[in-house]
Symmetry: C2
Subunit: 233 residues, 2 copies
């Protein structure tokens, strides 16, 4: 359906944020080109397309750049509105999905990354506890949003599936590096089963990075954080 359209995603393979537009475009069956951003130095295309943040991902649709991964996913849903919907149809369900997507980015993912960034065992334990408490909330959110169906979005992947699912590669990598059972079938059985379904979905398979690749990347980043710890927040 996107024959005459020029659709490009500027990103890097290890970025969960860059996975979001790719999964959304796959769900919509829109053909796109994935342009790998070298980052060091940042490409002219990135600097020109996202002058405010200079960050990936950027969706470039017929020459028009769209920035910020969740803004991009909503844009994709609205432009290709006749294909499989990504946000729920009902306004209240949409508000609930937007609320939890923001929670995942603002609160939950920082606690997951806090495990890798921690410089002491106490900090790591504190981040782990926060991250697991957040997952418990998300387990309850899954029950509310999925209404007994396989995905947050119901019968098929939707907005919240994409928002949380893009982090599953990092969940595995950090779990492996620090011997933490992040998605525990006993504590968060619904999310654990959902994660299996999400990763097996056709729209996701080709864009989910190998855990080993992320572990390598995380080790490199951990060495960098150790050399220059992030400022306290």
């Amino acid at each position: 359906m996107a024959g005459a359209e020029d659709v490009r995603v500027l990103g890097v393979l290890a970025s969960p944020f860059a996975m979001r537009p790719r999964i959304a475009l796959n769900l919509k069956k829109v053909e796109y080109e994935f342009v790998v951003e070298t980052m060091n130095p940042k490409s002219e295309l990135l600097l020109k397309s996202n002058p405010v943040y200079k960050k990936i991902p950027v969706l470039i649709h017929n020459g028009n750049p769209v920035c910020e991964s969740l803004v991009i996913v909503q844009y994709i849903d609205e432009v290709w509105s006749s294909s499989q919907p990504i946000l729920p149809a009902d306004p209240y369900d949409r508000a609930v999905a937007r609320f939890w997507a923001a929670y995942i980015d603002d609160k939950w993912f920082p606690s997951l990354m806090g495990i890798a960034k921690a410089q002491t065992d106490a900090d790591r334990a504190s981040s782990t506890e926060q991250m697991l408490a957040g997952l418990q909330l998300l387990e309850e959110a899954f029950a509310t949003c999925s209404k007994g169906k396989p995905f947050f979005g119901g019968d098929a992947l939707g907005y919240l599936d994409i928002a949380l699912g893009c982090y599953l590669g990092w969940v595995r990598a950090i779990g492996q590096m620090y011997a933490i059972q992040v998605l525990d079938g006993a504590k968060t059985p619904q999310l654990a089963a959902w994660a299996e379904r999400f990763c097996a979905d056709e729209a996701v398979k080709e864009v989910m990075p190998e855990t080993e690749t992320l572990v390598e990347f995380a080790k490199m980043m951990a060495a960098r954080w150790k050399a220059a710890p992030a400022p306290a927040k």
Copy 2:
């Protein structure tokens, strides 16, 4: 049009975030009850309606709570979709509006509050510089979004007008407290003129707090920040 509906906004008068749903409901001509949250201690209604963040504002629509001010504004736009639209109709314009609204909350407003929170003159100067640089970006965004019309949203107030405009009371209060010309007619002429129009709009007038009230509130907060400075970010 909202005769049989139960619409309540839980908030406090000085909160820019609580102004957002109120302006949106005024634009839609939806009747609502403003429930003043006492905050200390937090009400049972707040704790029950927003158990994750325990923060105002909350919109309670026929018993269903919606949290996070920009999520609420989008919800209002989608529920009362036959009245004056709040988000632009075009998907690209919507993405641009969402991008800048997030920028305003994540980057610009923290730099404005940084002026009040600063414990040293150097920190205050640095926050002032960041805030003014951000305004310059928003001046350009105004030109792009308004397309020569009076508001970000075009002929009438829209999403981005609400997102930025709700901070104008704080712009005045902080400008007065620290003798800073925030909206400078020479440097940001379009925003300065827009701010006058925004504050004079019927949907805004009754919800915009008096500058003096905010100055009093800011002085109280400044004393608190001096006693317990916020952690570095």
